[in-house]
Subunit: 319 residues, 2 copies
Amino acid sequence: MSAVKKPVVCFLGPVASYTHQVHAFDTTQSGRATYGVVPFENSTNGSVVFTLDHFADRQGLYPDLSVCAEIYLDVHHCLLGRSPPDDDDDDAGAAGPEGDPRSRPLVPLTRIERIYSHPQAFGQCNRFLSAYLKGIETVDVSSTSRAAELVRDDASGTSAAISSAAAARLLERDGVEVLAYNIEDREDNTTRFFVLRAGTDDSTTPGPDGDSAAKGPSSSSSPGKQTPAKTKSLLSFTVPHAAPGALADVLSCFRAAGLNLTSIASRPSLLAPFQYVFFVEFEGHRSVDPEGKVARVLEQVGRVAESARWLGSWVNQRC
Amino acid sequence: MSAVKKPVVCFLGPVASYTHQVHAFDTTQSGRATYGVVPFENSTNGSVVFTLDHFADRQGLYPDLSVCAEIYLDVHHCLLGRSPPDDDDDDAGAAGPEGDPRSRPLVPLTRIERIYSHPQAFGQCNRFLSAYLKGIETVDVSSTSRAAELVRDDASGTSAAISSAAAARLLERDGVEVLAYNIEDREDNTTRFFVLRAGTDDSTTPGPDGDSAAKGPSSSSSPGKQTPAKTKSLLSFTVPHAAPGALADVLSCFRAAGLNLTSIASRPSLLAPFQYVFFVEFEGHRSVDPEGKVARVLEQVGRVAESARWLGSWVNQRC
């Protein structure tokens, strides 16, 4: 165990903006924050492409960052609004539910003319919006808390926001109230975050609890070293344009090594149209690798791929 | 060659909305259109997730649809606006370019307070927006032509749209003009579309030119049957939750069959959090398959995957 300074964690709300993510990557890379937390995927909405684009690191801005832990957070959204100058009394259910939303509005929504939120939040609330706010203009803003502020600033009461109950409590005195709770499509709506840290030597960099390797900031519940925890690693790679078979070759390396693939994603390489940066997650840890499987797969992928980059290893929080 | 009715093609603009895509899938499935055209991926912005979600077909609405061709379209975007009541004369370059955009505004943009467009179009014009319209509110609307109409309807001249030169020409009389041409990040900005047809028997359904198999509506430039054209196929699959190794197993089938994978994507299955529907494209055609490779891979994937669905075979338009 090594002595460590109290860590600085750069954490973003459940639905963060592109700008916030640049901040998390930058402050962690530069050492101003010990950890940065970025959303990686949502169970309803899929990959967070802004985060994948940062990991693709096409400009080489983040050579010294890696993922050291994952965090799962349940995500619940509320519809926020504010009372208009003169309250009318329509029936809350007037619009009639379609597509079986999980939640009903607490008050009539007939006066709502536009809805502010973050694009990811809109993507998680399709059913409620189809049932009660069909055809209403949606406005993308940088964060769900910004959306709540825009509602506060519109005294007409015709604006609504998909935001959090916490944002409503913060702005309660300014007339912002919850119009509907739990408007997300699915009860099991969950966002998985990655914890970033500077450095790529996962065997020595300690977590906030002072423990090292296979232990990230959120892994205090994981088994000790006597019973190795299940672990995962993230790898990005590109394949030679002239050898399309290389994609299957790279993916076959994992099967040959006996390492399970748990997710796969891709983003445009932006080197030429329809060439990609691929991202694979697989079971195994680079530094806790008694059978040398991860070392072997990294070596083999390095031979078949055009470029490859290990992006981190951490304890699986869902096993 | 078989006699065919003149086909009805349901075609959407380069950047189509979710609603338009529902329309393309529905009219083609029902036979009201002979072909439906949907965007699949953009070279700058990646997968079109709405289209993937339709192919995932989680509600089983489109059992009888398949892809019979692909189309590549170059995409150029313009910034549209309209003159305000009293024109002031700022310097067009006042905002100063950052991040090396390809294009400069023709007129000052200082009066612009909000920009309307389709989310995919915003994603293709990041550099121009960062350089000349940083921090300006962006409003997602259902299509780029809708964005142009909203600009027409705002007489204040403070709204702009990312849309097409064609939309500007259509609305020229209403005061809409081009403020900047070719504002897309990359000169090679290209969207790949899939052509859908009803039916899943790719050996008999003729294309609009009356030819069958390995010939889609846009494949008139492909080689004749004496020299088989390069072909591609699309397959979706899910893997058993309890057997994470199955993903590597499925992907290994393609390498074993000697079929190159050309793209891979995934979307949430929405059956349980962090389970996926995977999409792979690979070289080969189900009906023009002299060595039986595609037949073999479909049979093998069917054995390893939890579920699998062939979604079409067509002539590769870029080889």
